[in-house]
Symmetry: C2
Subunit: 580 residues, 2 copies
């Protein structure tokens, strides 16, 4: 089977499992009204109107019933009928009646297994026995048709796989993902918070979160300057007319915030940084010799997202893009793309992501620019990926309207993909804003613009980092790198003296000088994912040594302070973890 | 005479000079309609409706006429009359008639000198001969009563002093100020730009401006962390309800931008950072032992200012405050204020401002909190200033409604004052947001909040720095610290090799490898205020030396590379300039 065939079979099985779950629920609660029950990624759900609120303990009961139905190996039977007959069949099911009304054809299809009948286009597996490993995972509220003006139904989620080991593997990863959830760890590690009072999707970074972010940003700035980028900084609001000229007002209206009025002019909060960079570019006449110009900005932008899709740091309403715009001549495009791909790979490697997927997205139906320009640019992108011997997939027609792009998705420690770097060629903005350079022929030529990020946004990248490392950041990124733990009060002076010495080497150290038990302090430092715990007692004081433990709980025993310093400094230098 | 008496006398003289200028203009253009003509700082102006547009060449003619009137030593005569008579007297002067209507009393005063009569409350000097050194400086358009719906009048500005040397000194400083104007230098040095397309008062920072700003910000962060501040980062928009709770919606409405709608909720772009810091504080129960907490943020805020008052970087609509909020117990307030004052002085010293004025502003008529709390806090501020033996003035009733404050104004190289650090005690927000800590008695107590900035805003501070140094920043702040200038093409390799070596020492170096004449390159580097020019020719190549020039044009001759490196590194370390 090809992977597409496998996927299609899994989807059929998951959809069939939804029907079996519905039958099981019906047998337990005969008065159930049924909403819809589709297959989704990894599993399925079904929405029910029930006489009582379900609790987690109900799930095993429903599962047991499902297993009976599966064991009975009842066939799924497809049947066509006219709407009149269907209305009769579902006369007690008002949600189904509503769906029947909306179907375009007079003939509708239903599926039966045993006594259960559902309005359904299919397809399904042959019989219930074809449903292999499954598990019900949770219960949630869901408005009928996702509309809060409609009744709230109860949704049961399940997962289903071909084999038990696959299911177990999935559930193990799910449990691990739960432990790594950046929303949970973000709170435990005191990295950030979100506040309904201020508005959902707006991140408040706490001191430790800012520290990690600043380390990343400082590193990012340094690497960009090294590679010939110039850093700029542009305001968060601008006249809406700029966004009308750019086309964003028409193309991205639903993601823009409503305008504010200033002296009779409409302003909006910026959804992207490009226009400010264009204004800076245009403050001077640029010669072909001064190109490429690479303007980078850690620019905070605001875009509207429905509150339903917001998710911790990963999907927010305000985020800081690690943005840059390259203004170059057509003959420089390929070299610039090479530079960006190499920078992106360097960044991902540095942060510990060694596995990623590359997508090259080509011309969509609606596009700006000429076909020739599209072909040349797409060819440049393709050539770069091939010259660099990178595996990539073509995503046909998925380019942005203004040009083709390369997207890179990072694979984290649990195998999940995260949206990472993006590199987009733009034919549209240089045209709309008349962005030119003076060629060696003395006349004006249109520049090519490249939009690119290498981390994506600070928010989503931080979410990804937290989950990838389960909060145990590599030492260079750890907000606190070491905690000194004195065994008793008489070791306090020595502890503080060590801290001063380590800080002198730019190591971020805290002294836990509370009058608590040593084991509690060690435990809390481990929970705080602090890489090094330095325990100092009588013996350490007498020998001017330190006793070292890692956050993995490994005890490295006694060593001299200089040994420890060298160890930490080399691990920081390498940007790795110490026996994570 | 006390300085207040001197000031009052100068103001009378300047106001009288305005009348004399009006008489001179009337004698040249008898059909002139007169607006108003007050004394202002350093001088005076008068608004005229004239039959023709004035040009700069008209000013000496008016000045000559004024000198005649002054030489004639005509007395100023005050006269009272009822409005009916005044209306008759000013029957051809419709602006004056408008003013007469608005005067509250039936009896009005006029002043005459010779044939010229003005509606005026006075006071004036005794006679025109009392007007000493003066000069007309420029002509500008000004709407009648500052309202763009009214006619545009012509305003002539003049300056006046007691003595010619004072006037000349003032004019020299004015010329110097013109040369140092940060708007002019900002463009010449390519530091920033403002764009009407994006909106007035919104700063676009160019690469070199960002570099200077980043050096300042990195230094600022480091010094704050050293002093126990935690850096946080909060979003630029928030629900308007937060600002209603805080009182800003009522007290600062005219400076807030209009709300944007998000899913039926109103949001505004933040005018200040305090509320985000309060939300972070409140994510945990804080114990008396964990205080003080000092949250610092380089937070960009947006406030509405009329377009007429916008001025380069000095008065803008969006600016980055070097903000911090200290949450402390009442018994910690004094020590915290000491810390802030010391930090502010350290910062000002570091940036080369050694002269400043301190103001302690006390309880205004409308205030939040109890009188006792005000008295205690004001006393704490006063005690700190006295313990630190600082000269200060009381500014009675000029505190913010939420608490007393200390303002520090920096004096720049031309003797002008700039708004600098501010330290404000706040009784209002902790009350409104119920911001508490758990005391050693186990019950909740209200914290005291201190708002403070030590630079003010990055924008205004940069304006001040540019004008203070006339663009020739101290070496540590210079975006380009050295330019290597090869005498001929055969010295290019050596030039680049030097640059690599200096960059290895974190010195910001450029190589001017254009095929231009050496003198032009030197001249351009000087205009760019680059501290060091390293000229390399045959002799330098042969001896592995460098030939050094300063931006002051001083030629320091030949020296070894290591001599130069040590020189620059020690100057950078000292945060000074090299023989500026």
């Amino acid at each position: 089977m090809t992977s597409e065939e496998k996927e299609a079979r899994l989807e059929k099985m998951r959809h069939s499992a939804a029907h079996v779950m519905a039958e099981a629920v019906q047998s337990l609660f005969p008065e159930t009204k049924f909403g819809i029950g589709p297959a989704i990624e990894d599993g399925f759900y079904y929405d029910f109107e029930l006489p009582q609120a379900l609790v987690a303990d109900d799930l095993p009961v429903i599962e047991a019933k499902m297993k009976e139905i599966i064991a009975a190996d009842v066939p799924f039977v497809r049947e066509e009928m006219d709407k009149a007959k269907a209305r009769q069949l579902f006369s007690t099911q008002h949600y189904k009646l509503e769906l029947i009304e909306e179907l375009p054809d007079e003939i509708v299809t239903i599926y039966r297994q045993g006594s259960f009948i559902d309005l359904c286009r299919g397809p399904h597996v042959n019989s219930t026995g074809d449903i292999k490993a499954f598990k019900l995972t949770n219960i949630a509220g869901a408005y009928w048709r996702g509309d809060e003006k409609h009744p709230m139904l109860q949704r049961i989620y399940g997962v289903a796989f071909e084999t038990e080991p696959e299911l177990e593997d999935y559930l193990a990863r799910l449990a691990e993902a739960g432990k790594r959830d950046h929303r949970k760890l973000g709170k435990e590690l005191d990295l950030f918070s979100l506040h309904d009072e201020a508005g959902p999707g707006l991140v408040h970074w706490h001191p430790k979160g800012v520290l990690v972010r600043q380390i990343i940003e400082d590193f990012w700035k340094e690497e960009h300057r090294k590679r010939g980028y110039d850093i700029v900084c542009t305001p968060h609001i601008a006249k809406v007319n700029l966004w009308k000229t750019s086309g964003h007002w028409d193309f991205y209206r639903e993601n823009l915030y409503s305008p504010m009025d200033v002296e009779g002019q409409e302003y909006i909060i910026k959804p992207m940084n490009c226009l400010g960079h264009i204004l800076i570019y245009k403050t001077q006449l640029r010669s072909y010799r001064s190109l490429p110009l690479r303007y980078a900005e850690l620019g905070t932008v605001y875009r509207y997202e429905r509150s339903g899709v917001l998710h911790g740091l990963a999907r927010v309403r305000g985020f800081t893009q690690d943005d840059a715009h390259i203004f170059c001549r057509p003959d420089q495009l390929e070299a610039e793309i090479v530079g960006v791909v190499q920078l992106a790979r360097f960044m991902m490697d540095t942060f510990g992501f060694y596995d990623y997927e590359l997508l090259l997205s080509t011309r969509p139906e609606k596009y700006a620019g000429t076909i020739q320009a599209w072909e040349e640019a797409t060819e440049s992108l393709r050539k770069v990926l091939e010259d660099l011997k990178l595996d990539y997939r073509i995503d046909p027609g998925e380019g942005v309207f203004y040009g083709p792009k390369i997207d890179i998705k990072l694979r984290d420690a649990l195998g999940r993909l995260w949206q990472g770097p993006t590199i987009q060629v733009d034919f549209n903005l240089p045209q709309r804003f008349d962005v030119n350079y003076v060629g060696d022929d003395g006349s004006e030529h249109r520049v090519i613009m490249v939009h690119r990020t290498v981390l994506g946004s600070m928010e989503r990248f931080m979410a990804c980092l937290i989950e990838h490392y389960a909060g145990a950041f590599p030492v260079w990124l750890s907000p606190v790198q070491a905690v000194v733990i004195p065994v008793a009060d008489r070791h306090l002076d020595y502890a503080h003296q060590l801290a001063v010495e380590l800080r002198g080497e730019s190591i971020r150290v805290q002294v836990d000088d509370r009058s608590e038990r040593m084991n509690l302090k060690i435990r809390e430092a481990q929970l705080g994912k602090v890489p090094y715990m330095i325990v100092v007692g009588d013996r350490e004081l007498a020998t001017s040594a330190v006793s070292l433990r890692l956050r993995s709980a490994e005890d490295l025993g006694s060593q001299s302070l200089s040994e420890f310093k060298n160890r930490v400094k080399s691990i920081i230098e390498d940007k790795t973890s110490d026996k994570l």
